[in-house]
Symmetry: D3
Subunit: 132 residues, 6 copies
C-alpha cells in the first residue's frame, strides 16, 4: 500500500459545550496543523498516488474556508461540538467530495482511502480515517 501526505494549517476560534471540556467551554481558539494522507494500492502511470500539487490546493481550499473564523458562527457547525476529532472528519469528508468531483485529477478515483490528522498542540492531536 502506498500513501502520500501533505500538510497545511488553519487558525480558528470556537467553544465546546459539555462539562467534560472544562475551561474549553469558554470561547478560545486553536491552530490546527492539518496532515492529509492519501492511500492507494498501486501507483498510476506517472508513478504517483495523487497529484501533490492538486492535493495541496484541495487542502488549501478547505483550510481557507474554515480558517480565520469563529466556528461557533458557521452554519455548518450548528448543533455539533467542533472537537479536534470531529473537525478531522469534516476535513476528510470535504476532501473525499473533492476527489469524487475530480478536483484531484482522474487518477484520484483510484484512491482507497484517506486519513486526516489535526495537531492542536505539541502534545495532542486527533485523526479520522475513511475509505473513498
Amino acid at each position: 500500500m502506498f500513501s502520500v501526505t501533505v500538510r497545511d494549517h488553519m487558525m480558528i476560534a470556537h467553544s465546546l459545550r459539555g462539562e467534560v471540556f472544562g475551561p474549553a467551554q469558554r470561547l478560545h481558539g486553536a491552530t490546527y496543523v492539518v496532515d492529509v494522507t492519501f492511500r492507494r494500492a498501486t501507483l498510476d502511470a506517472d508513478g504517483i498516488v495523487v497529484d501533490l500539487g492538486r492535493a495541496a490546493e484541495a487542502l488549501r481550499a478547505v483550510v481557507a474556508e474554515f480558517g480565520y473564523r469563529n466556528l461557533d458562527d458557521e452554519a455548518d457547525f450548528q448543533g455539533m461540538n467542533t472537537t479536534t476529532e470531529a473537525l478531522a472528519r469534516v476535513v476528510a469528508d470535504r476532501l473525499a467530495e473533492s476527489a469524487r468531483a475530480g478536483a484531484l485529477g482522474d487518477g484520484a478515483r483510484e484512491l482507497d482511502g484517506l486519513v486526516v490528522t489535526l495537531h492542536e498542540s505539541h502534545v495532542a492531536w486527533a485523526s479520522y480515517e475513511r475509505q473513498l
Copy 2:
C-alpha cells in the same frame, strides 16, 4: 475510525541483557517521549473519542510511576529486558487497565484499541498496538 493522541515523557535508567545490545548492556538511561493513541469507531455524545484531560492524567500516572527510576531495581521488570518495544507494551497494558477501571470515563469503555509509541531519540522509536 477516529483517534486522539496525547504526549508525555519519562526519564529512566536501565541496562539490557544480551550480546545483541552491545554497549547498552551497561547501566545507562533514556528519555522516552510517550505518545498514546486511543482509537474508536464513533464519537460519543460530546463529540469526542475520550476525555483528553482524563487521558492525559492516566498517562501522567503511568510515567510518574516509572519515571526517575532505575528500572533494573523495579519488581515489575525482573526477568525481562526493558527494551523500548517491551516498555511500550507495559505502558499500553497499564492504560488498558485504567480504561477498564473507569479512569478514562464511562465512554472509554467504547474504545476499540490503543497504540503506545516510545521515542527514545530523534532517530529511533518503538510502538505497541492492542485492542481494548
Copy 3:
C-alpha cells in the same frame, strides 16, 4: 553563557485591527506553543541556571491566565493588537515579574535575561528577548 528552556502551550481566540492583517481581522484563534529561555552567565551551587520545576510552574501560571480565553475581552489587552510578537513580550514581562518576586527561587535573581518564543504554526513564530 548558559541557558535553559521550558515549553508549554495556550489556546486563545482574538482578532487583529488593521488592514495589514487581512482575514485575521476576523475573530479567529491560535495555539501558541510557548518556549521560555532563561540565560545566566554562571551556574549556581546546584549546577543549574534556574529550578526547572519552578520555571515550568511559572510558565504554567501565565498560560493558564491567558489560555482558553478570548483576548479581545481581556482588560489587559484593550487598545493593543495581540499579535504573536506583542504576546511574546507580555509573557516575557510576566515571567520577569515572577523572577523578581522570587517565584523562581533566590538563584533566579542572578538571571541575565530571558527569551520567549511563541510558535503559532509549523511555519511561523515570533520572539521577544529582554534583560532581567
Copy 4:
C-alpha cells in the same frame, strides 16, 4: 503488534517526466529523511522486534547506495519516475531482501512487515507498506 523504527537520510538529484510534475520536470534534488518501521507480532527471546544496530546498518547501506547521486543516471531507475512514493517502495524492497538474506539477524525472519516513509520536506512525505 509491535514495531520499531529507525531514521536516516539521503540527498539525491533527479528529474520527473510528465506534465503533472510542473517545474519538477527540471533537474532538481531532494533530501529524503527515511524512516523504516519493522513490524512483528511477538518479541524475540531478547525482547526485541529486530536488532536496532543491524537495522540501522541495513538502512545506512541503502541510503549510501542511492545518496549523493543523480538518480537519472542510475541503471536501476531507467524507465521509471523516481517519485517519493516509488522510491519508498524501492527502499522497502531492498530492506526486505536484506532481511531475507539474514542481514538483520535470524530473528528478522519472524518480521511480519515493514513500512518505509520518505519525508521530502516539512510539508510532504510518502510511504510504502509491505509484508515480509
Copy 5:
C-alpha cells in the same frame, strides 16, 4: 528585541568542488527548509515586526527562483560552492534587497537585521545573520 520567523522550502540539485566534500562532489541534491527571522527593536503602529504575509511572499519569491533547478547551471553561482552556509547568505542578501526595495512594506525599513537558516536534513543546518 523582537523577531518573527517564516518557513518555506526549496528543492535543488548541485555538486560541490573540493576534496573536503567527499561524495558530495558528485551531482546530488537537497531539500532546504528555509527559516527567515526578521529582527527589530520596537514594534510598529500595528504591533508587528513586519507584515507576515509580505514576508512570506518575499521568501516564496526567492525559493521559487532557486527551486527545482540545478544550481551548477545558474549564472549567479558560477565560481562559488553552493554550500548550505553560502546559500543561506545568498537568500539573506536577496531578502535584504527586497526589504530595501519596499517589498516588505514601509515598516520594514525599521528592521535591524535578519537571520536565514537552511535545514538540509534532520541532523544538519546552517545560518547566516546580517544587519539591514
Copy 6:
C-alpha cells in the same frame, strides 16, 4: 556571521544531588539529543564554516565517550552535578579542545565560537555558548 550545526545523541544514567531536584535525586537517565553549532565570521576557501564530516565525527567521539554510561561512576564528573546545562558545557569544552588540536581541520582555527544544546525531552533543553 555564519554558523553550521550538526546533531547526534547519547543515552546516559545519572542522579542529581540537592533538594531542588526532587525525584531526579534518584538514579534515573536521559537521552540527550545534542546540537553543536559552530560560528565563524567568514567562510573558508571551500565556502564552508567547518568540514561537516569532521565536525560530526568529533561530536560522535564525545557522545561515544559519555553514552551508555552511568555518569555517577565516571571520574570526570565526581563532585559535580551532571545537569543538562553543566553537560552542555562539558561537551562544548571537549569540542573546543578537538578544534584546537586540529581534529576539525586547519580552517577550524578560524572559528569564533560554538554553542552546544542538549535536548532532554520535547519540553526542556539547555545550552552553553563559548568562544574559541
